[in-house]
C-alpha cells in the first residue's frame, strides 16, 4: 500500500503508478457532479455542444454537499454512491475524464472504460463529511444552479484523503480487501 500526493489535472503516467489500495492525498481543482448533472453533461456531449466544465485530465467528485454555514468554505461534503453514475461515466472518460471520487464499486462498463482511457476511481470514506469538508479550501457553483445540492461546483482542495478503489488495470480494493478478511 503506497502513499502519493497528487495534483490535478492528472497525467496518464501518474495514473499508471496507482494500484488498488494505495492512499492518495489530492490537491488542486476538482468538480462535483451527481445524477442529474451527469445526465445533462451526457446530453450535451451527444448533441455535440460545449460543456460547462473542462473534462481533459479532470477529476469529478460525486457529492451533494450540505448547505454552506456562514464562515465556512463548504458544508459537510462526503461522497455519494457511485454506481448510479455508471450509465454516464464511460462517455465522460472517452471525453478526457481521468478520475472519479465516490463510494462503492463500479460496474464492468466503467472498468473497461477506465482501462481503455487510463482513468482511476478513488474512494472517499462515506459519511465522514465534516472531516472531508476541512480539505476544501473554496467552492463555487459553475453550472446548473437550479439543481440545488446537485449543482456542479468547482472545488479547490488540499490533501483530500482518498484511496485508490479501482485502478486502470482492473484492480479492485473492495474485492481484494474483502477477500482477505472473509472467513
Amino acid at each position: 500500500m503506497a502513499e502519493y500526493s497528487l495534483e490535478t489535472p492528472l497525467k496518464d503516467e501518474e495514473i499508471r503508478k496507482l494500484k488498488a489500495g494505495d492512499r492518495v492525498f489530492l490537491s488542486g481543482i476538482i468538480y462535483t457532479a451527481r445524477d442529474s448533472a451527469h445526465e445533462r453533461l451526457v446530453k450535451l456531449i451527444e448533441a455535440g455542444e460545449e460543456l460547462p466544465i473542462p473534462l481533459e485530465g479532470q477529476v469529478i467528485y460525486y457529492v451533494g454537499p450540505a448547505p454552506t454555514p456562514p464562515g465556512k468554505a463548504i458544508g459537510s461534503a462526503g461522497p455519494t454512491t457511485s454506481y448510479r453514475m455508471d450509465p454516464y461515466t464511460p462517455l465522460l472518460i472517452e471525453n478526457g475524464l481521468k478520475g472519479m471520487i465516490g463510494k462503492g464499486e463500479r460496474t464492468e462498463p466503467v472498468v473497461d472504460a477506465m482501462k481503455k482511457g487510463t482513468a482511476v476511481y478513488f474512494a472517499a470514506t462515506g459519511g465522514v463529511a465534516a472531516l472531508i469538508a476541512r480539505s476544501v479550501l473554496s467552492s463555487e457553483i459553475v453550472a446548473y444552479e437550479d439543481l440545488g445540492a446537485e449543482a456542479i461546483r468547482r472545488l479547490e482542495v488540499k490533501d483530500f484523503p482518498i484511496i485508490v478503489a479501482q485502478d486502470c488495470y482492473g484492480g479492485n480494493a473492495y474485492v481484494e480487501g474483502q477477500k482477505k478478511y472473509a472467513e
Binding site: 448547505p67 462526503g78 462515506g126 465534516a130 480487501g177 474483502q178
Partner: protein, 280 residues
C-alpha cells in the same frame, strides 16, 4: 386530558433534527470506539479513525456528520390522554422539520413527486409512524435516514419452511451484497413476521434499540448474536474495503404472522446511525 401545545412539538422536533445530525448518541460512539480497538485490517482501522475524527469535528463545530442529512423518519407514541392544542400533530412535526433543516444548514433531500421530480425545499414531509398508547405522554424518536443505507434494504416473502436458516442466509447475503454502499460498519435491523408492510416497518424500528443492549427475548437475543458473528465474517469491513467490523449490531423485531406467510426484512443503518429521543 393533558394539553400539549403544537408549537412545543415544532420546537422540539426542530432542535432534535439538528442535534441528531450533529452528534452521535453515546451507544453508537462507544461501539465505534470499540471497533477501532478490535479491527484487524489496517485500512479498516484508518477508516474507523476517520469516522471517529469526523464525529468529533461535527459535534464541536455543530455541522452535519454526513452531508446526507436524510429523510426525517419519526416514530411517535402518543398517549391517548393527550390533547394537542394550537394546531395539527403532523403539521407541527413538519413545521419542526422545516425549521430544523433550514436553521441547521441541513441538506434538503426530498423529491416532491417521485417520478416527475422537484425538491420540496425544506426536507418535508417527514415519514411519521404513530402509535396510540395508554397514558398522557408524547414520546418521539427522530431518525434522519440516509439514502445510501436505505437503498440497501430488502424484504422477502419467504416460506414458513425456510425457518431460521432462511433468515440467516437472507441477512448475511443482504449485508454482503450491500458491500460498501451503506457505509459500514452498519447496524442491521431485521423484521420477522407481520404483514408485508408491518415487516418492513419493524425492521426499521429495530434500529432504535441502543447498540449493545440485549434483546428481551433470549431466543432472539441468541439469534442476534449469531447473526452478528456471521455478518462480520463476510469480510466487508469498514467502508467495504475489507476488515473484521462489518456490523456493530444486529437487532431483531418480530410480529405475529399469517400461517401461510413468513416475511423477513432488513433495514441497514450506516455508521452515522443518527437518532434522538424525547418525551413530552
Amino acid at each position: 386530558m393533558r394539553e400539549i401545545e403544537s408549537s412545543k412539538i415544532t420546537e422540539v422536533v426542530a432542535k432534535l433534527c439538528m442535534e441528531a445530525n450533529f452528534e452521535l448518541e453515546d451507544d453508537v460512539q462507544k461501539s465505534l470506539e470499540k471497533a477501532y480497538e478490535t479491527e484487524k485490517s489496517p485500512v479498516g482501522r484508518e477508516v474507523l479513525k476517520q469516522i471517529l475524527d469526523n464525529s468529533r469535528i461535527a459535534s464541536t463545530e455543530r455541522v452535519p456528520i454526513c452531508q446526507d442529512t436524510g429523510m426525517t423518519v419519526i416514530f411517535a407514541e402518543l398517549g391517548q390522554d393527550v390533547h394537542i392544542v394550537g394546531g395539527g400533530f403532523e403539521d407541527a412535526i413538519n413545521e419542526g422539520v422545516k425549521k430544523g433543516y433550514t436553521e441547521g444548514y441541513l441538506r434538503k433531500s426530498i423529491v416532491s413527486d417521485p417520478v416527475r421530480g422537484g425538491n420540496t425545499g425544506d426536507n418535508t414531509p417527514a415519514v411519521i409512524h404513530l402509535d396510540l398508547v395508554a397514558g398522557d405522554k408524547l414520546r418521539m424518536y427522530i431518525v434522519p435516514k440516509g439514502g445510501g443505507s436505505e437503498n440497501m434494504s430488502r424484504i422477502a416473502m419467504m416460506k414458513p419452511a425456510d425457518g431460521i436458516e432462511g433468515i440467516k442466509k437472507f441477512v448475511v447475503d443482504g449485508v454482503r451484497e450491500a458491500s460498501g454502499n451503506p457505509c459500514p460498519p452498519v447496524t442491521v435491523g431485521v423484521g420477522i413476521g407481520g404483514s408485508f408492510e408491518r415487516c418492513a416497518q419493524i425492521s426499521k424500528k429495530a434500529l432504535l434499540r441502543p447498540i449493545g443492549s440485549d434483546n428481551k427475548d433470549p431466543f432472539y437475543d441468541k439469534l442476534e448474536k449469531e447473526l452478528l458473528i456471521l455478518v462480520n465474517k463476510t469480510g466487508v469491513g469498514p467502508a467495504g474495503l475489507g476488515g473484521t467490523t462489518t456490523a456493530l449490531a444486529v437487532h431483531i423485531e418480530v410480529a405475529p404472522r399469517h400461517i401461510a406467510s413468513f416475511p423477513v426484512a432488513i433495514n441497514l443503518n450506516c455508521h452515522a446511525a443518527r437518532h434522538k429521543f424525547v418525551e413530552l
